[in-house]
């Protein structure tokens, strides 16, 4: 604005100055008129110099700005032509808007998205339960957002190297009366601790033997159903009771429903207490029951056999608040009984793991785990294992882990293995698990 005023003023002045010059050509000028003329010429040169300086500055300013900046109204709705034949029939005419353009504001409602990669390697020998030497074990894609003022939704797709499965996909109703936290969808069941955790938050490259042998393997109890959790008010501690009903299909050999009535159930009671600001204890009792596939012959469940699972879990956490990013300890154990009815009679197996993970520097964690478990379908078989784990975190979004694992099987030779893992996350910053 100011620049244009100066330019206008210069032009007007320039016009005034040009006038006397034309007049002076008609008669010889007097002496003092010559001095005046020289002065005017000097002024004129000054003005021309200033004018050209201004012009060059204006050009520079225009050149610096991208074309979009010249037209602030540029973001126009993209349009499309009305399809041939559609015009004139009472339908739309003229240009039609195209929705979902690159700059469309509705993108702000996209869910938080992230992908977590889990690359696993194994060396050594294991004849009983061998893993591939190298595998892209899992790529977990997550989509999470608030649905409406009453609910949020979380989806976790687990991509293997070949197939894809819905690990979890559920709606959480946060606003139900009576303090009920309700989830509907497919979810990892609240049986113990490890069953509810995704692979990438485990402190190991694998899952404990007791989970593999008695609680449905890597996927564990992960099924479509309904979950209701309520806090039990009391003066002493955090107490939460969870009840879950599932269709009844979990793991390869754990639960299998062949009728609508073959639902499986999970009940969990969790107690938590702070012992100090840095130390706390977390205890749980779990129960689960469902139909197992041992009585299914040619797709018909002749045996109607069931499996009942009981679990006890305990976690002790220590993290000094002043050094919370450098030091921490997590000790955890789960004890699980399995009572599995099958054609050859009741198999009553038991198993547990005990583990400790110590963070000794900002990026370094060391851990130990002891495993012992019967097999669900043959309680006379016993597997035991010991693991030593070392984890390094380059940042909050990636980690490298090595695990030495020794497993003694009743049905085969003892396996000595070195497992290693790279994990990496891209996308939205997820919440840290507790």
């Amino acid at each position: 604005m100011r620049a244009s005023c100066v330019i206008c003023a210069s032009i007007v002045t320039g016009g005034l100055l040009a006038g006397p010059r034309a007049a002076s050509a008609q008669a010889p000028p007097p002496v003092d008129a010559q001095a005046l003329r020289a002065e005017i010429d000097q002024l004129k040169r000054d003005f021309e110099a200033r004018l050209s300086a201004l012009e060059s500055r204006l050009t520079a300013v225009e050149g610096r700005q991208p074309p979009a900046a010249q037209a602030p109204t540029a973001p126009q709705q993209p349009t499309a032509e009305v399809p041939a034949g559609a015009a004139g029939a009472g339908g739309p005419s003229g240009a039609l808007p195209v929705y979902g353009g690159a700059a469309a504001l509705s993108k702000v409602f996209n869910p938080d998205m992230a992908v977590i990669g889990d690359f696993l390697g194994a060396s050594g020998k294991n004849n009983v339960s061998p893993d591939a030497a190298l595998q892209m074990h899992e790529s977990e894609a997550s989509f999470q957002a608030i649905v409406d003022p009453y609910a949020r939704a979380d989806f976790f797709m687990s991509f293997g190297e070949e197939g894809v499965g819905l690990e979890e996909g559920f709606l959480t109703l946060t606003e139900l009366p009576g303090g009920l936290l309700t989830k509907v969808g497919k979810m990892r069941a609240a049986f113990g601790k490890v069953n509810s955790l995704h692979n990438h938050v485990l402190p190991w490259t694998d899952r404990p033997l007791v989970i593999n042998n008695l609680v449905g393997g890597e996927d564990g109890i992960d099924d479509a159903g309904l979950s209701v959790a309520r806090l039990i008010p009391n003066r002493w501690l955090f107490l939460e009771a969870t009840g879950q009903v599932f269709r009844g299909d979990s793991g390869e050999t754990l639960f299998k429903s062949s009728e609508r009535a073959d639902l499986s159930y999970v009940g969990h009671l969790r107690g938590y207490q702070d012992l100090s600001e840095s130390t706390n204890v977390d205890l749980g009792l779990s129960y689960s029951r469902g139909h197992n596939p041992s009585g299914i012959v040619d797709g018909v469940d002749l045996g109607r056999f069931t499996t009942g699972l009981f679990g006890v879990d305990a976690t002790l956490r220590w993290r000094p608040l002043r050094r919370s990013i450098y030091q921490s300890f997590l000790g955890r154990g789960e004890l699980i009984w399995s009572r599995r009815d099958q054609p050859n009679g009741l198999q009553s197996g038991m198993g547990y793991y005990v583990s400790g993970d110590y963070q000794f520097a900002r990026r370094w964690f060391g851990g130990l785990r002891f495993d012992r478990s019967n097999r669900a379908d043959d309680a006379s078989l016993l597997d035991t294992g010991q693991s030593f784990v070392l984890t390094y975190w380059p940042s909050e979004f990636s980690q490298v882990r090595g695990q030495y694992r020794r497993t003694a099987y009743t049905i085969g030779p003892t396996a000595n293995e070195f497992l290693f893992q790279f994990q990496f996350a891209i996308g939205a910053h997820g919440a840290h698990p507790f």
């Binding site: 303090g179 936290l181 955090f238 840290h432």
Partner: protein, 315 residues
């Protein structure tokens, strides 16, 4: 005017209808995510509220654990005040979700993002990636370290409290005015103390102090962290030492929750002093409220600058 009056009446009626009479008489239960917000809420709310903080002033507010004991506290809260700008992204969402308290859900009436009106610095421009470290895409969340932002946050809290307790509006307004007056006075004093050192160059550990530096005339020329959230690396530390020697930097500011090893070794090679400067109320035992936070930090800084015989560079 008439419209707002009728709206206020409507809100008042709605409050009477919705909240049981017994609770309407009781104190408002306020939860804040950090102690600084709790302190400001205490100044404004006085004895009409009870307020508690989730994080302690001496812990890293980026990495707070989502303990179930916090769920119990959130369950009873009428109002939750968060720092926002994704500072609490790693721990607040699960707590809010499990609180079973509709009032404090994100976007609900009892959820106050204190950053909404505050002056936010370091808002990244253009493409951002995690190669930049754990960068906050919505700007630097350590904005409470500018007393001007403290006033803005106090105003927002007062408005929110009055929304819950219309009858106490005059009380909250009075306390707000008193807080702002006292903060104005204190700020004059702090600015006067820092004025001789205007433009002094410093290094900080994490990017916790941009608002403080902006208000009190510090020039932060580098960080002990190579990138936000990334621990110090040898090569970056060497570069930083060279730069500090070149620019004759005599002060390293660090938060109490970081390891002092690297700052101390940088200090020993550059002749600089390491100042453990609490960025939050509760970061030191004597720092019990928002005023004492600045009192402590500015005294610490001024004493160190005097000792170092520092003169503002460029003057």
């Amino acid at each position: 005017m008439k419209k707002t009056a009728s709206l206020a009446a409507l809100v008042a009626v709605a409050c009477l209808v919705v909240s049981p009479p017994a609770r309407a008489q009781g104190k408002l239960t306020v939860m804040a995510t950090i102690e600084d917000l709790a302190s400001i809420a205490r100044e404004v709310g006085g004895d009409r509220i009870t307020v508690e903080s989730i994080a302690k002033g001496y812990q890293d507010p980026h990495f707070v654990e989502a303990k179930p004991s916090f769920i119990l506290k959130l369950q009873k809260a009428d109002l939750l005040i968060v720092v926002g700008r994704e500072l609490e992204i790693g721990w607040m969402p699960p707590l809010i979700q499990q609180s079973r308290n509709r009032k404090v859900q994100s976007g609900a009436e009892g959820y106050l993002d204190a950053s909404a009106q505050a002056k936010i610095l370091d808002i990244p421009q253009g493409q951002i990636t995690r190669a930049m470290g754990d960068v906050h895409p919505l700007g630097n969340p350590h904005y409470w370290l500018d007393p001007e932002n403290g006033k803005i946050v106090a105003r927002e809290i007062a408005a929110k409290l009055a929304q819950f307790r219309p009858n106490d509006k005059a009380y909250f307004d009075l306390r707000l005015a008193d807080f702002v007056n006292r903060l104005n006075e204190a700020e004059k004093r702090w600015l006067a103390m820092m004025a001789p050192y205007n433009g002094v160059k410093v290094v900080t550990y994490h990017r916790s102090f941009p608002n403080f530096a902006d208000r009190f005339g510090l020039d932060v020329i580098g960080y002990v962290e190579p990138r936000p959230g990334i621990p110090p690396s040898p090569s970056h530390t060497l570069d930083l030492i060279q730069e500090m020697k070149r620019q004759q930097i005599k002060i390293i500011l660090m938060e109490p929750y970081f390891d002092q090893k690297t700052p101390n070794s940088i200090a020993s090679q550059t002749g600089a002093q390491v100042l453990v400067m609490p960025p939050s109320v509760g970061g030191e035992k004597t720092v019990t409220d928002y005023f004492k936070l600045f009192d402590y930090d500015i005294n610490l800084l001024v004493n160190a600058l005097k000792q170092a015989g520092a003169k503002p560079s460029g003057d």
